[in-house]
Amino acid sequence: MTGKPPPALELSDVHYSYPDGHGALRGVSLRVEAGERVAVLGPNGAGKSTLCLQLNGILEPTRGSVSVCGMAVGRKNLKEVRRRLGVVFQDPDDMLFMPTVEQDVAFGPSNLGLSEKEACARVEGALFDVGMEGMGGRSPHHLSHGQKKKAATAAVLSMEPEVLVLDEPSASLDPRARREFGAILAGLSQTIVMVTHDLPYAHELCERSVIIDGGRIAADGPTSDILGDAELLAAHDLELPHGFVMNHH
């Protein structure tokens, strides 16, 4: 109970090949301290989403190991790991499966064994956070894409995990929702790992950035340094959008 808390995430030499033989991760080592906010950047097909799926044991590394809050991710403590670390997948269709949005958002909390009242409060809070209040009764499969993304995000927020992993949280959100959700994230004290192609968003929300390319870590450092290095960015198909002027926080 004394001393430094264990790192929120620790990956050592993680390799992963998909069942069809396609190698997606080729030795990723990464350490994220509790409370850090890290952006994961990189070109399409770099392995970012594959990495996210390693973190809560949905995919298992073909080599190397992952640990979350000091626990090795593996068969034994999968349940505990998933209680502490929540992943919002890139494609919200992969996340929603209950007949109504409310039930979907309540699914996680009720698996945590919360009382019904508490679960209800969590659901309401989470729907509010993503701007979906009043839509709890809709069927999640009959929503617009952006609404699905919001519902999927709420479904993870409602579990209040210690580590929050977000795969492209701002994609398909409207501009206001993007900003408001950013403000919500900025107010959270949890550890956050955020995969994004939206470099200004990364700049706004994360003090540290990691670039992944070809299944390997290509750079790791303060976001402003990384985004300030045009040459580094260009080498990995990244660039600040035209018309965007980076200012200092």
Binding site: D93, D94, M95, L96, F97, P99, G108, H141, M159
Partner: protein, 243 residues
């Protein structure tokens, strides 16, 4: 359910290469169905004829390079029927001969279809039926059924993954209780995904048959005719002379 078509199953074997794989699917369809019809029409006691047909099938298995273990594994589907046939000697008169004949017929039917499906990838099989002038509505339904089996198993794994990621674990009892609603959700999800994919196909000009490329264009060649005529002669002589 789901996942039936994944992994090293039929699809991988059917994608192999051998003289039997290379035959035109039409020749295989007509030949093997003819063979089953002949076998079923044989009376109990035509043991030489049964043996000759089994020899033909064994020859095809060898020529196709199918591994015996694989063939046996796929034939396990007939076990319950063999058990039933094994009961016949105890229940009816002349049951031994009858039971043996039933067992042989079931075996021949299963083996013939295992060979057909293990040497012909499904899309080619379908194309063969199309070229044999099977009704178009039937082939269209078959094609979509095949496509949607993938959609279904895809949606099953998405839903499973989604549940697990949010800390789901339950005993089988709860699982059984929630089967109804889950199957219903699965149905609607798959249906709507299938619908959107279908609409995407029609928006790109689909009108009921897949475009053919050179690779799957088919022509009856000499070897197909040779195969069919040998098969016909062999089956006819078995049916006429051996019983």
């Amino acid at each position: 359910m789901g996942g039936t078509h994944h992994g090293g199953g039929i699809e991988a074997v059917a994608a192999g290469d051998s003289p039997v794989h290379r035959l035109d699917p039409r020749a295989k369809i007509v030949g093997l169905i003819g063979l089953v019809v002949v076998a079923v029409s044989l009376p109990p006691g035509a043991w030489t004829a049964f043996a000759a047909i089994l020899a033909i099938l064994t020859g095809l298995v060898a020529a196709a390079g199918l591994r015996p273990m694989y063939v046996l594994r796929r034939m396990t589907i007939e076990i319950p029927f063999l058990l039933a046939a094994a009961m016949l000697p105890f229940t009816v008169e002349d049951g031994l001969a009858l039971g043996a004949a039933v067992g042989l017929k079931v075996t021949i039917g299963v083996l013939a279809m295992v060979i057909l499906s293990s040497t012909t990838p499904f899309p080619r099989l379908l194309r063969g039926f199309e070229l044999l002038k099977a009704p178009r509505l039937i082939t269209v339904i078959v094609a979509f059924m095949w496509r949607y089996l993938h959609v279904l198993s895809d949606e099953v794994s998405r839903m499973k993954r989604a549940r697990e990621a949010r800390g789901y674990s339950a005993g089988w009892l709860w699982q059984a209780a929630s089967t109804g609603p889950l199957i219903a959700t699965l149905f609607i999800r798959s249906l709507e995904r299938g619908e959107r994919v279908y609409l995407a196909m029609t928006s790109r000009g689909y009108e009921g048959s897949m475009p053919t490329t050179t690779a799957d264009r088919m022509a009856i060649r000499t070897r197909d005719l040779a195969f069919l005529s040998t098969f016909a002669v062999a089956l006819a002589s078995i049916r006429i002379f051996l019983p």
